[in-house]
């Protein structure tokens, strides 16, 4: 990495570290310190995993789609995860669903998501990724369809099941699913490692098919691998906090704006750190200073939504 890139990564690490320290030790009373620290540590780890997974997934997806406007969530991808979840509850009932061993079920869902991502988006992107308005529309339609299907399943279920599903389909950074954290963290870590390993090939992928193939890239294979990683990372983040629409867009936009070059060896860590830092700083501010546990997702989504509008209106959709 060259000097400006290193400086950026160091600065982001510093920011994340400082925010983490404040999060962990601010207002730590004389009470049960060990317990509070553990509680805070778990939540911190969750925020970092979700932020990093979302940031990296979005950068990967934008590279595969060759544009800066589409994100997995805009393409309705987290809605697909919620649908998968709802489908399981509908098929097994609340008791049956609760009886499933959490970690293996989660792993199976992650695997399913990566296959679906590669299949669905591999086809879509192969069709007409250049036609961005059409892709956005397709994504919106897919999202609405997945949500409608989830809603339908939820309605024919009993009220208990409905509540279970409802909880899973609304984003909240304040209350994350701690039981899944170890498995989710491990998967996010592995995916990040794989993405970094692929970084030079991702640089080539970003050039698009016409340029990358003559340079000797196994384009379709790298594309599918990338989309598979996106599927897994989205599954991780959605499982932990629920679907977030525009957060990834914000993170990827910042990463592209701040990184001195378009090289993925820099972009990916930058996006991961920016995602994690926004969530940790934001949650510290809202939860500690304002006593609002659940506001962050709303604010982040609003800012991300504004950014989306900005991109569309400015015509920077390519």
């Amino acid at each position: 990495m060259d000097r400006p890139a290193l400086r950026l990564i160091a600065a982001l690490l510093g920011l994340l570290g400082a925010a983490s320290l404040v999060w962990m030790f601010q207002g730590l009373g004389g009470g049960n310190r060990a317990f509070i620290l553990q509680l805070r540590g778990t939540k911190l780890a969750g925020l970092v995993v979700v932020g990093a997974a979302t940031g990296i997934a979005t950068v990967l997806f934008q590279t595969a789609a060759a544009n800066r406007v589409l994100t997995p969530s805009i393409m309705g991808f987290d809605a697909l995860y919620v649908l998968l979840q709802t489908g399981l509850v509908a098929a097994l009932g609340v008791a049956g669903f609760a009886a499933l061993p959490a970690a293996p079920t989660f792993l199976a869902e992650v695997a399913a998501m990566s296959l679906l991502a590669a299949g669905l988006f591999g086809t879509l992107l192969g069709q007409g990724a250049r036609d961005i308005p059409r892709m956005i529309l397709t994504g919106v339609i897919l999202g609405v369809m997945f949500r409608a299907l989830s809603g339908f399943l939820a309605r024919v279920m009993d009220p208990n099941a409905f509540a279970t599903v409802q909880a899973a389909s609304i984003a909240s950074f304040g209350s994350l699913d701690a039981a899944l954290l170890p498995a989710a963290g491990a998967i996010a870590g592995l995916c990040t490692g794989a993405a970094l390993w692929m970084a030079p090939r991702l640089d080539l992928l970003a050039l698009g098919r016409e340029v990358a193939i003559p340079l000797g890239l196994r384009f379709d294979r790298v594309m599918l691998a990338t989309l598979g990683l996106v599927g897994m990372l989205v599954a991780v983040s959605t499982a932990l906090v629920g679907p977030v629409a525009f957060f990834g867009l914000l993170v990827a936009g910042l990463a592209h704006g701040l990184a001195p070059s378009a090289r993925h060896a820099v972009l990916l860590p930058a996006a991961g750190l920016i995602g994690a830092a926004i969530l940790v700083v934001g949650q510290t501010l809202f939860e500690r200073l304002m006593g609002q546990t659940a506001t962050l997702s709303v604010v982040v989504e609003f800012a991300g939504g504004l950014f989306f509008l900005f991109l569309l209106l400015k015509g920077r959709v390519r």
């Binding site: 060759a66 970084a199 970003a206 698009g208 193939i213 003559p214 340079l215 000797g216 378009a262």
Partner: protein
Amino acid sequence: MIRITGVSHRIGSAAILHDIDLTLPRGKLIALIGPNGAGKSTLLRLVARLEPLQQGRIEVDGLDLAATPTERLALAMAVMGQQTHIASRLRVAELVGFGRWPHHRGRPGAADRAAVEAALEAFGLAPLRHRFLDEISGGQAQRAHLAMTFAQGTDWLLLDEPLNNLDMAHSRALMARLADLVRGSGRSVVTVVHEVNYAAAWADHVVAMKNGRVVAQGPAEAVLTEPVLSALYDTPVEVARHDDRPLVLHHHWHDQLGTPFPEAPDAARPTVH
């Protein structure tokens, strides 16, 4: 050489190429000419493995396209497409640097950096090296893409309309550079050109295509003749000689104003008052 045997191609139900047999000799500057829609780009894209080979066989210097790893082929031929649009925000030097990818696969060394410098220099891009691609003119971007192809350092260069967007001086400079590559370093260049006089002035070998077929091929002298060109483009031309090479004259047929576009239906006939 590049050997194309029995290659046909269809898109949907439309037959685009019909059973093409063509041998492109090594060490020559080869011009591929023909009217719009003749299938020139499709043929180049098949050789560049940008389209799946549906029927027939293509060999590049003895490497069978269907059986050779794409990494190996990237060391044998470089390709510049007719339309290149790049989504990521790159600087000129970064784009040119990608031309070295087949050699270093992500870890550029001193030789790669030297090749990039040479390519930037050769295309007059040194002053623009730090500019972003979306902050330079169309012709400058075209030159950056060409420089990337050059940096790849392959024996074969396939270029689809490389003169697009280039001004007169840069067009001439490009053709001279291609000729220099061929005559000086023994490399082989296949380039699609629309202005046949570039073929007349620089090419060793000319391949003419129409309606998905090769209709003429051979030394420039043999192909760039009045009967061949008039039939190829469905438009009258006159071939003079200049500097001991053919010179194709077609701008002076003013009495032909108002003839329909060769492929256009009558309704699209330009009106002249």
